[in-house]
Symmetry: C2
Subunit: 629 residues, 2 copies
């Protein structure tokens, strides 16, 4: 029997010392289990999302040093791992040292080079540069190397030949994207297969969690194993990595596929563990059953893990949440209470004259349900003082000595309230409490900037900002039903109309609230950002004209006509939100807190954007004219 250990380790980005220590520990554990081959993830030593830390030469040399430690510790075991590999004699296109995203295989203290290759490691061939990925910015690809050497890329792709228990094995070594070659001109796995005699494939990855991705990978990688009729070991990291604005959980879910393409073993999501399989038994192992959990269970797991690790990373133990009696802050409170414990969670209700007894009562009910720290700090005195100061302090025009006073409109006062709550009360309370305060914005609000800068848009982390409003509701139900097993988020909060309660026009007791019509706008906004082929007003209007809008957006049939009886109303609404989405909301997102990503496209580094203002194509304008005439 040949024991393969998938070492699903937690990779700490930017801390090679800690990662090497984890690897040595897991290698010891594997030895005790008589493992033949231990496989670590891609970039196991440096981490993967490091921003431009890749430009620090001393950091690179440090990674090389720790990689050498792992190589030297491979006495009696075969270790496969990802690390950054430098060719100190050569340069990248940017004039900095040559760097490869590399797959190392070491045995008895020595590296095993791929057959017939100069470098003693496998080089990543396909470089993702969509979404949050920036591989091409730092890593020299095998294709570029081939160009430099005047060779065919296939010449540089070769198996790694291992001797295990006295027998020779050819391993087909792939790095992450190499296994997702659908749209590339090269298929590394196919090239390896064509070169023949591959005994098994190994794909080491640093693959961030995305809702639905694991099922897709099982289809794609299962198919590859089946077509090649060889087992495939996929080893992914766990942990939390970020690109500044966007924060990703890595769920692991390392998987062994047998030669029939079936999933035979899978490491538990978000758990550091050594999953050991016997290669000779793989073919006869029963396939694991398909994942039947609802999406919201996956989302909750990602949020819970992500927030927990984020807090640990920034060494924050206490959290303050401003609660309004609305759904977003309530869900945030229930989520954080599970993570920091009710004794470390301070909920603050900050009423003004516009806040109803209803929402004040619901806030208290929520806090009671959680048994956390709770206080009520009213803002009316401060808001009145601010309005008074701004209105009554004379402004002198020093060119001619004339005086004027500012007029504070009700719209300006709305934002004064929001900033008073966050920048004055919550920021101060969090500092005094010894923690941070949260941003509870959802993805619909984030899309159109329905929030106040330095007000409810602030916080140390926006944990719910990649969730549409319907997902926030689903999360409330999931936490009540599954996580807590009791009504923690009060039914009254689930039932109440979403409202900012910043003016009498937003009176919840009269059913007044947000201008966002979530059952439609959630889906409209989703098409702007999450569709692979992004939708813009031209597409929306074409679908509207063709009567296929709801089908294309995935929202409830008939809802558009219900909200917008005429084309004029429909178009006015579309342009209102498109103008915000590509206008003020971009300015707000630039200054938004980090966003925890769960969807196929999150705001921030995942969806890059420029503050260029709204634009309507010529075809849109023509279609609009036709619809309005």
């Amino acid at each position: 029997m040949l024991k393969i250990a998938m070492a699903q380790m937690e990779v700490i980005p930017g801390h090679p010392d800690k990662n090497a220590a984890t690897m040595l520990r897991m290698m010891d554990e594997a030895r005790t289990e008589h493992v033949d081959v231990i496989i670590f993830p891609e970039m196991a030593i440096p981490g993967y999302l490091l921003g431009d830390t890749w430009e620090q030469t001393s950091f690179l040399a440090d990674c090389e040093h720790y990689g050498q430690e792992i190589i030297e510790a491979s006495e009696g075991i075969t270790v496969m791992f990802g690390n950054i590999a430098m060719d100190w004699e050569k340069m990248n296109n940017d004039g900095r040292v040559r760097k490869y995203n590399a797959f190392f295989t070491a045995q008895d203290g020595k590296l095993i080079a791929p057959a017939g290759q100069d470098y003693p490691f496998v080089i990543k061939t396909l470089m993702p540069n969509y979404r949050e990925f920036d591989d091409t910015r730092h890593f020299y690809s095998l294709q570029q190397l081939a160009l430099e050497q005047g060779k065919n890329p296939a010449d540089l792709i070769a198996p790694v030949t291992l001797t295990l228990q006295g027998k020779s094995y050819n391993a087909g070594c792939l790095l992450c994207e190499d296994g997702w070659s659908d749209n590339y001109a090269l298929e590394p796995l196919q090239i390896l297969q064509d070169k023949g005699q591959i005994d098994f494939f190994v794909n080491i990855s640093a693959s961030p969690y995305t809702l639905g991705k694991n099922n897709k990978r099982n289809r794609v990688f299962g198919q590859q194993a089946k077509e090649a009729s060889k087992p495939l070991f996929y080893v992914n990291a766990i942990g939390l990595q970020n690109n500044g604005k966007t924060v990703y959980t890595f769920d692991g879910a390392s998987t062994a596929y047998n030669e029939k393409g079936q999933v035979c073993a899978m490491s538990e999501e978000y758990q550091e563990e050594l999953t050991i399989v016997d290669m000779d038994e793989l073919a006869s192992m029963p396939a694991l059953s398909d994942d039947k959990e609802p999406d919201i269970a996956h989302i909750y797991r990602a949020l819970n893990y992500g927030v927990r690790r984020f807090l640990e990373n920034i060494r924050m133990k206490k959290v303050v949440i401003g609660i309004s009696g609305g759904i977003d802050s309530a869900v945030a409170a229930a989520l954080y209470a599970k993570i920091v414990g009710p004794e470390n969670l301070l909920l603050v209700n900050m009423p003004s004259v516009f806040n109803s007894a209803t929402t004040k009562g619901l806030s208290k009910e929520l806090a009671d349900n959680l048994g956390c720290q709770y206080t009520v700090i009213p803002i009316q005195h401060s808001v009145d003082h601010t309005v008074e100061q701004l209105s009554n302090t004379p402004i002198i025009y020093l060119t001619d000595g004339s005086e004027q006073k500012l007029t504070v409109s009700s719209f300006v006062t709305e934002n004064i309230q929001a900033r008073d709550r966050s920048a004055r009360i919550l920021a101060g309370a969090a500092a005094a409490f010894g923690g941070g305060f949260t941003c509870n914005a959802n993805k619909a609000e984030t899309t159109v900037g329905y929030s106040t800068l330095y007000g409810d848009q602030s916080g140390f982390l926006a944990a719910l900002a990649d969730l549409w409003k319907y997902q926030v509701y689903a999360l409330a139900h999931y936490m009540n039903d599954e996580v807590y097993g009791r009504e923690v988020v009060p039914q009254g909060i689930i039932d109440i109309v979403p409202s900012a309660e910043l003016s009498s026009a937003q009176n919840v007791d009269e059913g007044k609230g947000d201008p966002i019509k979530y059952p439609y706008h959630d889906f409209l906004f989703r098409s702007f950002i999450e569709r692979w082929q992004k939708a813009a007003p031209e597409d929306i209007l074409e679908w509207y004209a063709a009567g296929t809008l709801e089908e294309n957006l995935g929202c409830e049939p008939g809802i558009v006509a219900k909200y917008f009886p005429t084309a004029q109303e429909f178009i006015a609404d579309l342009e209102r939100w498109w103008n915000l989405f590509t206008g003020m909301a971009v300015a707000k997102r630039i200054q938004a807190p980090p966003i925890l990503a769960v969807s196929r496209r999150a705001y921030g580094f995942d969806h890059r954007e420029a503050q260029n203002g709204p634009y309507y194509t010529l075809k849109y304008q023509q279609l609009k004219e036709k619809l309005l005439s």
Copy 2:
């Protein structure tokens, strides 16, 4: 005579309709001048920095439409221009439609393909993906195309043959980075030259302004023209483009190099203009004299243009600046006063008990010098109220009903003051005044997060955040001496010790102030971000041990020993700031306003970073131990 017009247009990113209109207007002007060839910049139609707008199919089709308009308008004139080019039948590696960064040449309504090529346009070969550039994310390069077709990239590079005044000319067409091939495996210009019979080169660019870049380009491009012994026309855009967090001016400076490599004609920086040269006369034209202006003149020009266009883009006519009596806010005030006019500039001084009569007096003096709108809004009442509310409102622990109160430390009160000024007063005053308020942070503060989130770090734009403190002082002198020709920034503000005045420990009259020792830290911090090979503590400590630190940093000799008599003090200081730079300051930069870039490396999209916490390499730790033993 053969008249070539370099059409240095302002490109409005994301607005193909406006850009096409500009191009048609300049083509008309060129026709009046009997121009033979008019050359527009790279990506003249879509703009260049668009974030992921490149993923909107309807936008791409719109760009194609406007490109077709330009082609059709080329009756009687040869037009060269940059646009995005789609191959709708093919895909990029990300599964989206195939996109090329393309150079089109049209004559009499028809495109002229490069000799022997399938596509009727030249494809960008070299794709920059350092700094703010993201070309590889969206554009398929000529190298990738060659790989797909199983060809050598050189096979796809060919001149464009034009008939001008009945004579045939071979133009060597390059796109921006194609002319900066030093570190690439391919040199497009050399390949063209080797194919022979090139009559002149054209490099169309979208090249953001960077301090010192134009001189470097004149050396590099001049050398290319000289070696090839052919004229080279470099055409760059003007305008303002951004990647969200980082905002770039495009200075144009379009240049004609003669066959001796001399600069014979250059369009004025930041001016939309048609610069017409007679190709036959180039060889005999006198070389322009070298740029003799000091750096600060270039910086002022970039800031002035950048801020002006930024305000126009967001339709902001009025600006509020909180002035403290310190240098940063004073320089910001003098800069903005020139742009919006004193009548639209409101300076607000917001004293607490810690603000000295000195700085209050200097604030008024500055406002008098500018003749702008001025007001004083004290914050003490509000700060006292906040501290009182936070300290006296009981917090109930709902699990056991116990009560506690928060303790507001003097450090917490410092930040309460800063947030009171920005999020309460300035944000409210700006909204009531009908404008926005500025962030006046400099680059040293931005490096280590010496600012308060939602406090002095806020604003709609951080115009000075790419300037080191010494550059802010230089700008004060430049504005007094050259821009205003009188003392606008009071000498008292230039002379006073930099201080936040948030506590009695920061009393300016006692010479107390910032913990940042600018004459050293400006240069230390610069080495962390601006060096091409980024310095980290290991490098700093090695230089320190070798006695070459000041030389490597470029600061005043002897200053390090003066500030830090012992290695222990030196190391404590280094770690203090490195911990902040890679720790809390990253968290703050994620939520910082957009930064106007002038240096070779600005914060934001230009210098990507992850919130991964500080790290010290093993070699650093060993060296530290040695120095401290």
